[in-house]
Symmetry: C2
Subunit: 284 residues, 2 copies
């Protein structure tokens, strides 16, 4: 399979490593968002651009009949993106796998599986400790902030604390900046602590994690307990999941199963190298 990368930030670099480690893939190019994409000759392009540019590039590539994989992560807009990409993929006999990361992504598959195992009950997805990209960007946008890092701390039952580490601009007043952060819509609804530091860079760490718990009912039997935990390097996992989804995209395209799909619509076996027989014997 010929795989190309579009966008070469944290995720693009991690995807490059995962492609090189894959036994059945060839990296055929790394492109930047302002490159001309007409010359890309690949089975799949991994769209590793910022999330808000995903739709534009995935649409453009799907229209050329190229499979795409992205890690679009705005939960509330996934259905709309899928609907829009699905039409383009169907018309051009290709496959686009969207929101391929760990949440949305593999966590979504775990949530779906737990629903199938216990249809009634509550699932809580607890994130972190780890850096929230969205909250970090929101904090950086506040006047008087030179650099920021917003850590997500899980408090259980899907409730999170925000620990916001900031470097102040020369002459900025901490109390004013703190009040502005606490009033921002990204932070106003959670317990938030703002902490001034000399160097945000010194705190930088791409570790993240999840603790996903469900207590549910199977048939008429209550108290079925499930838990999925992970502690991971965030871009490394996202890049790897995108690469595994690239494999699934090619398999689906080759079977004529065109369209835009989220990860809960994929067969786990399609994510893996090797034959059906090898994987069933090793994993089932």
């Amino acid at each position: 399979m010929k795989i190309a990368i579009l966008g070469y930030g944290n995720i693009g670099k991690a995807a490059e490593e995962a492609i090189k480690a894959a036994p059945d893939m060839q990296l055929v190019g790394i492109y930047h968002h302002n490159d001309c994409l007409d010359c890309i000759d690949a089975d799949v392009v991994l769209v590793c651009t910022p999330t808000r540019e995903v739709q534009k590039f995935a649409t453009l590539l799907a229209a050329r009949g190229i499979c795409t994989v992205d890690s679009f992560d705005i939960h509330g807009q996934i259905w709309s993106l899928r609907s829009s990409l699905d039409a383009v993929c169907q018309a051009n006999h290709t496959v686009s796998i969207l929101s391929a990361g760990w949440d949305p992504g593999t966590d979504s598959m775990v949530r779906a599986l737990l629903m199938a195992m216990s249809p009634k009950g509550l699932t809580y997805t607890n994130f972190g400790p780890g850096r929230s990209m969205g909250h970090t960007v929101a904090a950086k946008a506040i006047k008087g902030v030179r650099n920021a890092l917003s850590m997500t701390i899980p408090l259980g039952t899907g409730i999170h604390r925000r620990m916001v580490y900031i470097e102040l601009e020369e002459g900025a007043d901490f109390k004013t900046v703190e009040a502005a952060i606490l009033a921002d819509d990204y932070f106003a609804h959670d317990e938030t602590h703002v902490i001034p530091v000399d160097s945000v860079d010194a705190l930088n760490n791409v570790a993240h994690g999840v603790n996903l718990v469900r207590s549910g009912v199977s048939g008429e039997t209550h108290n079925q307990r499930f838990e999925f935990n992970m502690t991971i390097n965030n871009p490394a996992l996202t890049g790897q999941v995108m690469v595994s989804c690239a494999r699934a995209a090619v398999r689906m395209r080759d079977r004529g199963e065109c369209g835009a799909k989220t990860m809960i619509e994929l067969r786990p076996i399609d994510l893996l190298p090797g034959t059906t027989e090898q994987n069933i014997k090793a994993l089932v």
Copy 2:
């Protein structure tokens, strides 16, 4: 969807409860293994017979164009069963989902997902504490044993202790029976303790569990840590998983995707009631 049950032991009874709780299913009959099956009019038959009778009944039903779901649990024979059922399903335009339980079954899906997230590394599946059906049957077969219960105790890294509780036959010698159990191939390779009790029935409990851990490599990044835990009522979960798989079987049949499949070949979304849009909005 019209669902029937074949076999009415622990699993069949749990499946009945799960069918009745499903919003999109109708229970159309409960059959015993010596009933005539020609009159079954169902989309799917859940084959809840002992595992060694699964092949016979699933083949018979698939040959009539009826979808089947079973929880065949002899890991080393799954590929062979799948190959044999696949031919029958293809010829009769139907779907057979085999080994639909929690291990093999949902654990298999988790193992496949973790491989996609970190292709290199080690996964350990630790079972229990809970009753092992196979070991219990093996202990009951020993001369001098009136009743037995073999509990599986996880010691980590996939190593298990066997706690074997036995009621002796009148006049049987405990030391002789203990030696025979320890020499049995089911027990000879594990740490095994044999404990005489007055009543095995007083210990009966269908609780079980799993602790599935993986430390792996995503791309070139090591120390990616994953863990899946559950503590569950065993037949209730198995019955529920079979019922969720019955839904997937009908959906696959209706899309013309015929054949015999294990759970790692299923899309998680097919296991759930509701539309694609509802499930993506709720779970992705």
